[in-house]
């Protein structure tokens, strides 16, 4: 029995290895970029700029993915993220709201995000609806409401403060990237260093055990959807700033992208396990793929065909690395047992 103490903390390793796998995938994508467009990659300024562009393109969906990761770890799913963004974006760019200036617009987007998340949360936690159905219903409704509010028009943001968020930099790094970084760090701390985060894992991993441990599972579930709604509110501002406008169809299919990024990053769709860093890597993989296609100017249909293949390859590669390295590590660390 005493020999067991020597065992490493296996899963932390698992996570690091999974993430390493994703870093490998990212590296592979970059190598493909270098090989196919050497002339671009030979210019350091271009490379630097390209990295920032990739990060910037990943920022809004990255923020959404952080919220989604919490929801999935907590045992749910949120199909309404894209719709929440649209509703928050549209609401905060109505003429009436724009009259209150940037602060009013930001406030509106966040409150709309929180409110819709709250409705989701209440329906799911207390109305006992399956989250898939409740958020699907919300997807449909919120986009409908957004269309109603905007009169199906693209609403242009005339607020320079808002519009300049997307074009400003801080210490050479785009503000949007800073926002993403802040959300990721906050998400990591929340998941790994707070009671809220630990309880999220418990609620998703074994709700019965969580209940027996005295956790208010319903309340916690509700809060997870509120959190996701809040992230959507933030993302709505980011996207509005990027597009200097908002419309009912914006952030289309973000739900799929966010879920896919979270899962590729190692979050278990059935809940109880997941990592914020992995989710970030998942987002970066997707955004790097898009970049790679753009610099190679692939036709969209070819892009799509290839993209599916890359996703599969990425996950396989990651699994492969993960398994073989895990085995290696196990052997090395467990010689005392056999």
């Amino acid at each position: 029995m005493t020999a067991r103490t020597a065992l490493p903390r296996r899963t932390d390793n698992d996570q690091v290895l999974r993430n390493l796998g994703l870093v490998g995938v990212l590296a592979a994508l970059v190598v493909i970029g270098i090989v196919t467009r050497p002339e671009l990659y030979s210019d350091p300024a271009w490379v630097r700029n390209n990295i920032l562009t990739i990060l910037q393109q990943a920022s809004a969906i990255g923020v959404v993915t952080v919220g989604m990761t919490f929801v999935i770890i907590g045992g749910g799913i949120d199909l309404s993220v894209g719709a929440i963004i649209a509703l928050a974006g549209v609401w905060s760019t109505t003429l009436a709201t724009q009259a209150y200036g940037a602060a009013g617009m930001i406030f509106t987007a966040l409150v709309v995000g929180l409110a819709v998340g709250l409705v989701n949360g209440v329906l799911i936690a207390y109305g006992k609806l399956v989250s898939f159905i409740a958020t699907l219903a919300m997807l449909v409704s919120a986009r409908g409401l957004a269309a109603q509010i905007s009169g199906k028009q693209t609403q242009v943001s005339t607020n320079d403060t808002i519009n300049s968020i997307a074009s400003s930099r801080l210490i050479g790094i785009p503000v949007l990237v800073w926002i993403l970084a802040a959300v990721v760090v906050a998400g990591w701390v929340l998941l790994n260093r707070t009671t809220f985060g630990r309880r999220t894992v418990a609620v998703g991993g074994n709700p019965e055990a969580a209940r027996l441990a005295g956790i208010d599972v319903k309340r916690h579930t509700m809060l997870l959807f509120v959190l996701s709604g809040l992230c959507c509110g933030i993302a709505a501002i980011m996207l509005t700033s990027q597009a200097t406008s908002a419309q009912a169809a914006m952030a289309n299919l973000y739900e799929l992208d966010a879920i896919a990024a979270a899962i590729i990053g190692g979050t278990l769709l059935s809940g109880g396990r997941g990592t914020i860093v992995g989710a970030l890597f998942g987002v970066l993989v997707f955004s790097t793929i898009t970049n790679l296609f753009a610099i190679n100017n692939l036709a969209t249909e070819v892009q799509n065909m290839v993209k599916g293949g890359i996703i599969v390859a990425a996950v396989l590669l990651q699994q492969f690395r993960y398994r073989s390295l895990t085995n290696l590590l196990r052997r090395r660390n467990d010689p005392d047992i056999s």
């Binding site: 903390r9 899963t11 009671t195 969580a210 047992i337």
Partner: protein, 505 residues
């Protein structure tokens, strides 16, 4: 003892689940600093009772007094706040949280919502030390602990609360002999501090050793309250079952081991789990494997069954190489695994479908299932195993723990099983049903079925098996006919073993 104050008093507690009256007038009185044992057959209502105390279920009627005050905890949290901590029968831990996080789940030491990880780890280490398990790392994830380690963590969790009453629902079921001693030491320390313990177990010997008083439940009613723990077995069993019978092993007809072996395991190894294991099982023979928890017996059984791939070595059943579960089952091997909930049961499916999970294809005609035949066969098996309730259409989820175990064993009585692997088959099974299960195993053997049995209860291995293998740290260190061994020898082998090493078969 009798002058100690009563901390908990239950009168006429009734609890109905849809379709079942689980509690039908329960009385219970627990005094400060005593170990109060709850005894009763599978499905008698013990777990239900303690879940009412824990705030998981709510009584339909009846009176609960907790330290003189009426008490009706609405949530587990309320019960914990009142000073009642519970170790549940089903391990309810979160796989992807660490040991420390599980111990303090729901009442994490924290500052402004931030967990104090060092403090949590230190507190956990202290509790684990007091439990005699300083080797369990607080930072280790639960999923990486063996079953016994999980049980320790469950106990640690109960101790992490400042409880006045600790309820333990079959805590010893997954513990080996030495661990049970350890558990008793802790219980004695608790009671010395005035903490009351409600202890549930199907092992009468344990109740004798640790219990002060006993309350017996039968079919949801209290049939005897506040008996001395030293009440004769015959009387206790009588109160539980309404019948009188002993914890006995039926006599064995000797088997002819000169026949060709049914199962041949040749130098099987899996890194980190077990090494160089060779054994045989003959038709009609019962082979028992004794060993400490964590000695690798479950892994060995699963590897023989083809559920794990061996690093080296071969398994042959009747001349057929076993390369996977598929071939194993096809050639007549069956296994009742250790963790019934995660490894064996479809909880939402009815009993009969669980029983025929490995044989529905054999009942089927041209791919079409024959539900009626399955039900009839399942009903017969339910009779053989004394399943309660005897309703094979009820979802397995609503069965008590012991009865779920019977369903798992019953699965392999239905097919054309020729070799049965049993991993802790009587865990959580009550005395009466245990005797029936032993009889079933003997009948199987008499029909020529080979049985390979793993059990942490040494008397069970010695009483049931023809031949005993002793396993320690992943190696077989001794093989002998059951008649040549006694409990003390086996325990010595299992724990120390050094003196006998040379004798290893």
């Amino acid at each position: 003892m009798s002058k100690l104050a009563t901390v908990l008093r239950l009168t006429d507690v009734v609890k109905t689940f849809p379709g079942v009256r689980a509690l039908d007038g329960v009385h219970l009185e627990v005094a400060e600093g005593e170990v109060h044992c709850l005894l009763g057959q599978n499905g008698a209502g013990k777990s239900t009772l303690i879940k009412i105390l824990a705030g998981v279920h709510h009584a339909d009627s009846g009176e609960l007094l907790w330290r003189g005050e009426p008490f009706a905890p609405a949530t587990p949290q309320a019960a914990m706040r009142a000073g009642i901590a519970t170790i549940y029968q089903e391990l309810d831990l979160v796989d992807h949280l660490s040991v420390a996080e599980n111990v303090f789940l729901g009442h994490e030491p924290s500052r402004f919502g931030f967990t104090r990880r060092r403090a949590t780890a230190a507190a956990t280490r202290r509790i684990l030390e007091s439990l005699g398990h300083p080797e369990i790392p607080p930072g280790r994830l639960i999923k990486d602990l063996p079953a016994a380690g999980k049980q320790i963590v469950s106990m640690a969790r109960a101790l992490s609360h400042d409880a006045k009453l600790i309820v333990m629902d079959e805590p010893s079921a997954v513990l080996a002999h030495d661990e049970v001693e350890n558990l008793f030491r802790i219980i004695r320390e608790l009671t010395a501090n005035g903490i009351a313990v409600v202890y549930i177990s199907h092992r009468l010997a344990e109740i004798r050793e640790i219990g002060d008083r006993v309350t017996v439940l039968k079919d949801g009613r209290t049939t005897a309250a506040g008996l001395s723990a030293r009440t004769p077995t015959r009387e206790l069993v009588g109160k539980m079952t309404g019948r009188a019978f002993e914890y006995v092993f039926p006599p064995r007809v000797s088997t002819d081991t000169r026949t060709e072996p049914l199962l041949t395991v040749d130098r099987l190894s899996r890194a980190g789990e077990f090494a160089d294991v060779s054994l045989t099982v003959h038709p009609g023979e019962i082979v028992g494997i004794a060993g400490l928890v964590g000695s690798g017996r479950s892994e060995l059984l699963e590897t023989i069954f083809g559920a794990r791939r061996p690093d080296t070595g071969t398994v042959t059943l009747d001349g057929h190489r076993i390369t996977g579960v598929g071939t194993a089952v096809r050639h007549g091997m069956g296994m009742a695994p250790e963790e019934r909930k995660s490894q064996a049961l479809l909880l939402d499916e009815p009993v009969f479908k669980n029983m025929t999970l490995a044989s529905f294809a054999a009942f089927a005609r041209a791919g079409f299932t024959a539900a009626r035949d399955e039900q009839a066969a399942a009903r017969r098996t339910a009779d053989d195993l004394d399943l309660r309730p005897r309703d094979v259409d009820r979802p397995v989820r609503t069965l008590s723990g012991g009865n779920q175990q019977k369903v798992v064993v019953g699965r392999w009585l239905l097919g054309h099983t020729r070799l049965l692997l049993l991993d802790e088959p009587t865990r959580g099974v009550d005395v009466g049903a245990r005797a029936e299960l032993y009889q079933v195993v003997h009948d199987l053997a008499a029909d020529g079925v080979g049985v390979l049995l793993v059990s942490s209860e040494v008397p069970e291995v010695l009483g049931l098996a023809d031949r005993v293998l002793v396993m320690r740290e992943g190696r077989l260190i001794r093989e002998a006919p059951a008649g040549d061994l006694d409990e003390d020898t086996v325990l010595d082998l299992v724990m120390a073993g050094s003196l006998m090493e040379g004798e290893a078969a």
